[in-house]
Symmetry: C2
Subunit: 439 residues, 2 copies
Amino acid sequence: MEPVRIGILGLGTVGGGTVALLRRNAESLRRRLGRPLEVTRVAVQDPDKPRPADLSGIDLTTDAEGVCTDPDIDIVVELVGGVDNAEPLVRAALGHGKPVVTANKALLAERGNELFRFAGEKGVDLAFEAAVAGGIPIIKALREGLAGNRIQSVHAIANGTANYILSRMRTQGLEFEEALAEAQDLGYAEADPTFDVDGIDAAHKLALVAAVAFGTPINYDALHMEGIRAVTGEDIQFAAEMGYRIKLLAITRPAVDDGVEIRVHPALVPESAMLAGVEGVFNAVEVVGDAVGPTLYYGPGAGAEPTASAVVGDLVDVARTLGAPPEYRVPYLGFHAEGMREPRWAPIEEVETEYYLRLQAKDQPGVLAQVTRILAEEGISIEAIRQKEPLPGEEDVPVVLLTHTTRERAIRKALAAIDRLDVITGPSQMIRLEEVGTG
Amino acid sequence: MEPVRIGILGLGTVGGGTVALLRRNAESLRRRLGRPLEVTRVAVQDPDKPRPADLSGIDLTTDAEGVCTDPDIDIVVELVGGVDNAEPLVRAALGHGKPVVTANKALLAERGNELFRFAGEKGVDLAFEAAVAGGIPIIKALREGLAGNRIQSVHAIANGTANYILSRMRTQGLEFEEALAEAQDLGYAEADPTFDVDGIDAAHKLALVAAVAFGTPINYDALHMEGIRAVTGEDIQFAAEMGYRIKLLAITRPAVDDGVEIRVHPALVPESAMLAGVEGVFNAVEVVGDAVGPTLYYGPGAGAEPTASAVVGDLVDVARTLGAPPEYRVPYLGFHAEGMREPRWAPIEEVETEYYLRLQAKDQPGVLAQVTRILAEEGISIEAIRQKEPLPGEEDVPVVLLTHTTRERAIRKALAAIDRLDVITGPSQMIRLEEVGTG
């Protein structure tokens, strides 16, 4: 059989891993597909840079657009990253009737709707399993495996760097800046860690997951996002004392009133939950469906070969239906274009969950009376209060509260009032608590 | 658009759940598929039996074969169970050019090769996600999501009843018979529990998983199978003291020398492993791929709606490619017929793993010297030994050993010699120990 000819844009970590994987497992891939998958051209910025991968027989070029328009290329794999530079390349490939496989979550989170529409007009695939949760086939699970369900919630640990930092803060008693520096030394975090620690990367992934879970257009702007910079070692310790761990979660679920919640923020999860046990650079996605109940998908969230695993999985899918009428292929986001609905994206103030509050108070009688009065006025019911001893040399004491389920608007109003109290000496901490469903 | 007309054979737990799910989520399924999925006929044994499901508009019939041959049925869902009664029905449907969706693991484990061949000749799908691990989309993950990988191991908790019994034995300190009786009272175990507790059900599932993981024909007969009847409360307690839990595992992996291992048996797993935390009626499948590394898939392993979730996921897949040329569809077991290979199925004696041994010995000096001499003669290296105190009123003492990785042939030879020692007063227990990869 004729080989399927693949052009790859970008030969960084994932590009190199993809070339290596396609070569190493060429035989088993041919057994699956009935045809060989062959990388024929790779576009790079610097053709003279030494490459770890075996590139024999591959045409190395600096002409990325030429790969996208090459009539001898059947499928284009976009691994250059970025938005403004990747978009014209993806468009060029789609415009020339070539399906595209991409790991580019930023591109799809920000321009996905237009790109999927364009791919639809051209009748070709635009596959993106590698854009979410590395090697975990979560897009396939949500889009196909759980197609019979209405999704009730998704809670994902979707950024390995942030998860590593939180893991080290907990196990080594580090503060955020110390754990970040360690992650940077080990190459787990970038010199500019913004994408990872401020939640942007997890948010890009969540924007895609929400669309696939609920059959909506991608709406990155609707997303509420908080990173992990404000989580302190004290928070992690207090949470642990009460049986919780703090994770950066990407969450989407039907909103309480109507519409869809979509939010990335640190959250307490019960230490008995499976998500609590996901440590270091691993990812996990908990999906609750109305029929299946709670399910969980776990694996490496990044890295050359795990991400290449997702790229090659997509390549097999796409290669199998090369030239097939589009109706035989899975819709990009799992729903037909005419079946997609723009929901009301519920603002964060409407979220109902439990809350961890840490207040900084004067060490004097009556503090709790004032705090609990304010919470009661907002209709907030308290599950637990812990008033700590002041640290040596400190005059203030931390007061930690867990609330029962309450609406975020009420919490915010109460916290504003609490922070105006004379007995409160610093800004209060608020971290949401998620009663996840597995474990 | 014209509805896809579905005929269902059998209206038990899963059949009822499937009808209910297709009705409840009809709107979201139409958004996914672009066409309605409509149950038009259901075959039952007793049409007068009261049914919990809303069957309005459905033609209830006792003529199962008539549903399979009905020209107005597009897809047949086989949920009658059993082998000899289900096979002719599945053949009738396939023979009339109708794709079949089935949850029948026994049928496919025993007759799958012939049925897939026949389906291939007729150019129609035979889908079976619901046959393995209930609602967990593990067949899709192995067959498609991880298609880029060569699979290095699969370790599955694939039978919820056995897992429930082992969970209760551990947490409540019960013996097997007590926990079984409890499971039977709760309806988790059948009056004749053989399928679940002797490993047959897990073995049926494993036979399918191994074929999908390695691109082999299904070979149920090659499988080594041990159930959980011989696991004692003492074993569970001793394992816990050393940091392990005992689970009934379904395992397949490339053999040490050549070929494929395929075995179901109780096994110790480190309590820190994710599989160890899977309790009660839940299932989980750990898959290690050469590219992706360790991944895990978790969810409900049985039940009306979880299994219906898998059936409906298959229905969406099958409906989408109704009438499509077969080359556009995923091969039944993930590999093209001409790409499938009958491997050497490695006999259990060739397995290399670690072992938990519990010996029943006289409480006198020199026992360990004799036992360790025999193990040394077989080249077996010991990781830990615990000689217990005799229980009150007992003269014998349990001696517990953990070995380093060794070949099963050597363990069996050593145990035969140990059991001939005068100081050994009863048959020895041997349980394999699996160093699973996640957590």
